[in-house]
């Protein structure tokens, strides 16, 4: 191994550079090992379980079934119902959050007075524990108990019908996580140089043109990060649904389906297959986002 190792650009590395690289790997190793232990092992174990018929209630009947569990899950209408519900909640809530979050970010960015107070006020919902907030929503919409249910005609129980319940779940999600979106977008707004905006103004660009032609393109990396984080989060939605409807009346998400099959049915094989499928979906979403936004991904080189 006397030949110097080429790097990506084909240039040979000097001995010093190689040693530095080795040191880098050694320094990373402990962290990689810890990560493997706490994340790769459970994921690997879930994959292993998903290939078994493994039902806690029938310990004697455990056996290797290959992809049988995946077949059972993917051919089940319950998987697809939950899939479409999850997709619907994800798309609608993220879209609403993006628009609202951008508006809030602009307000926070431009506020001259009480900047700290405004930012704190906006962030309050994000600071409340989701389950606690979800319970307060649940009570608010329960007939005879809640202040919001009183606004509806008597006898209406919106959380017990599919569409009203889905919209209320989305409302709870949006209320809760728009501040997070706004925070990420605010960071992106700070990246837009004032001079560029002033130059555009001098050139006669209207406020809308400055926003769409200057601010948005420059914020692309921040928007990508915000959208990616929120989409992945929204796709794994569990707590709001668990508290508001427990997934009844056609409001169950994929995470609820996985939970019910693992913890209620104690069917570790089927439940793990569902978890692995959710994992794959999340992977596909992340991959699509990075592909879609391409060079705008953080860390990517900007090609001229």
């Amino acid at each position: 191994m006397n030949h110097p190792l080429p790097d990506k650009s084909g240039k040979a590395l000097s001995a010093g550079a190689r040693q530095e690289r080795r040191l880098g790997l050694l320094l990373c190793a402990p962290a990689v090992l810890v990560m493997a232990a706490v994340t790769a092992y459970p994921v690997g174990y879930a994959v292993y379980l998903s290939l078994q018929r493994y039902d806690l209630r029938f310990p004697d009947r455990a056996e290797f079934v290959g992809l049988g569990n995946y077949g059972a899950v993917l051919s089940s209408p319950f998987w697809w119902d939950a899939f479409w519900v999850t997709l619907f909640i994800t798309v609608v809530s993220v879209a609403v959050e993006l628009v609202l979050g951008m508006a809030l970010a602009l307000v926070m960015h431009r506020t001259l007075f009480w900047r700290g107070t405004v930012r704190t006020a906006v962030l309050v919902p994000y600071g409340i524990v989701t389950v606690v907030a979800a319970f307060s929503w649940q009570y608010a919409w329960t007939p005879d108990l809640g202040y919001l249910a009183e606004l509806l005609p008597s006898g209406e129980a919106p959380l017990t019908e599919q569409w009203p319940a889905l919209w209320l779940i989305i409302l709870a999600e949006v209320w809760k996580t728009t501040p997070f979106m706004a925070l990420l977008l605010l960071a992106g707004l700070a990246l837009v140089p004032e001079e560029t905006l002033k130059a555009a103004m001098v050139d006669g660009a209207s406020a809308w043109q400055r926003f769409t032609r200057v601010v948005l393109p420059l914020m692309k990396p921040a928007i990508l990060v915000a959208l990616l984080f929120r989409t992945l989060d929204a796709f794994r939605i569990f707590d709001n649904i668990y508290v508001l409807t427990s997934g009844a009346h056609g409001t169950g998400s994929l995470s609820i389906l996985g939970y019910n099959n693992l913890f209620t049915a104690l069917n570790l094989g089927i439940g793990s297959a569902i978890s692995v499928l959710i994992f794959l979906c999340v992977g596909i979403i992340a991959f699509t986002f990075v592909k879609l936004f391409g060079a705008a991904a953080p860390g990517a080189e900007v090609k001229p």
Binding site: P42, R57, L262
Partner: protein, 413 residues
């Protein structure tokens, strides 16, 4: 994930272990949370009666049955040694026994557990002809009605629906209050009707669905009620407690519910209480008695307990005559010892004790299978809302999904 959770649960549980060295064993009893004090009283009494050999520490499980089951299952799957005695819902015996989480009752303990115990509750504690628990209390539904509206109670479902239609025509309260929400109560309603029509949900070996024409008949009855004036508008959301409240508010003429509604009506609406009466659960066929589904709690000994012999003894003590009488009088829970139904104190508190006893003797049990959770969920899911039931195809859907569940291939919604 599951491994991590179970490990955590057992570590936490281990912190509350027994006091070593004091010479007296502490037995941990996990049971439903009881507000009447009857369970704590029983635990104290038995500790005193043991002559210093053990004391019983009563730990309250979560309020909901699902929460109770999940806590127990997590600990048992992690082989937690800190549970000795458990109060199991009658539907969990098969599951816990098949998973080898609870011990079989044999010999002298079995003899004492079965002596004088009502036959049907005993069936809920049995799996594959072996005894795995001792019935602590039982429960069953009766038909409750208003004597001012209905002078003679209906004997069959069709009579009840006719009476309701007639009351509706006269503009009087006419609803039949029953559990129509999408949960286990709906499964119980269906199970009662299927059994009353002479059928069963599972075949006797519990390895395949039975269903058949009685199940189609049961599903049709549920749909008929939902489509008739007898149906409360919020039927698809109603559980036992909403039924009780609707009856107490005066909009209903009939209520199919457990005996807890009686003291509640007495306290909440003394005027209506004057006309509040009970009758046997209505029949499906005039010539065949109804077979209401029973509920209740069975006491089991954990397979991981370090003191199984003491635990069997303590479980028997917890459900002895005196403690069952306390549970019945303070907590309102119908006893499982046959002799208590002749006890004057109980008869006085429970004026309907004869009807409860008669119902218990002809009662049916929920489908006994380790996969009961799946069976119950697919039934409740398919039959909800009751107004959308299509008897033939709904029953066919239930049959297919139960089939899957019994082979561990079923995905539950």
């Amino acid at each position: 994930m599951l491994v991590a959770l179970t490990l955590m649960a057992s570590t936490l549980a281990a912190c509350g272990g027994e006091q070593e060295g004091s010479g007296r064993t502490t037995l941990n009893w996990y049971n439903f949370p009881d507000d009447s004090g009857a369970l704590q009283k029983a635990a104290d009494r038995c500790g005193r009666a043991s002559g210093g050999r053990y004391r019983i520490s009563y730990s309250k499980l979560p309020r909901g049955a699902d929460g109770q089951r999940q806590q127990l299952v997590r600990r048992l799957a992690a082989q937690d040694e800190s549970i000795d005695i458990m109060g199991l819902d009658v539907t969990w015996t098969a599951e816990f026994a098949e998973a080898r989480w609870i011990r079989e009752w044999t010999g002298e303990a079995k003899r004492r557990a079965t002596a004088g115990t009502l036959r049907v509750p005993l069936r809920t504690a049995t799996w594959k002809n072996r005894l795995y628990a001792v019935p602590y209390n039982t429960n069953t539904q009766l038909l409750w009605y208003r004597k001012d509206l209905v002078p003679t109670p209906p004997r069959t479902w069709s009579e009840m629906l006719d009476m309701s239609r007639e009351l509706a025509r006269q503009g009087k309260p006419h609803y039949v209050e029953i559990q129509g929400a999408q949960y286990e109560g709906l499964t119980v309603w269906f199970n009662t009707l299927v059994n009353s029509a002479g059928g069963a949900i599972l075949d006797p070996s519990a390895t395949a669905p039975s269903l058949g024409p009685p199940a189609v008949r049961a599903a049709a009855l549920m749909r008929d009620l939902a489509g008739s004036p007898a149906a409360d508008p919020s039927l698809p959301n109603q559980m036992e407690d909403q039924n009780r409240l609707a009856m107490e508010s005066g909009v209903a003429a009939f209520e199919l519910n457990y005996p807890f509604v009686y003291p509640s009506m007495k306290a909440n609406n003394p005027r209506l209480f004057e006309d509040f009466r009970w009758a046997p659960y209505p029949r499906v066929d005039p010539g065949r008695p109804a077979r209401p589904t029973i509920g209740g709690i069975d006491l089991a000994v954990s397979a991981h307990s370090r003191h199984p012999d003491l635990a069997f003894e303590a479980a028997l003590c917890l459900r002895n005559r005196e403690n069952q009488l306390t549970a019945a009088l303070d907590g309102g829970l119908p006893p499982t010892l046959r002799a208590l139904y002749d006890e004057p104190a109980f008869e006085k508190q429970y004026p309907f004790s004869k009807e409860v006893l008669a119902a218990l003797e002809s009662a049916s049990v929920r489908p006994a299978t380790p996969a009961y959770q799946n069976v119950s969920i697919v039934i409740a899911h398919t039959l909800s809302p009751p107004s959308a039931i299509k008897p033939e195809s709904s029953v066919a859907a239930i049959r297919n999904q139960i089939d899957d569940a019994l082979r561990s291939e079923g995905v539950i919604p």
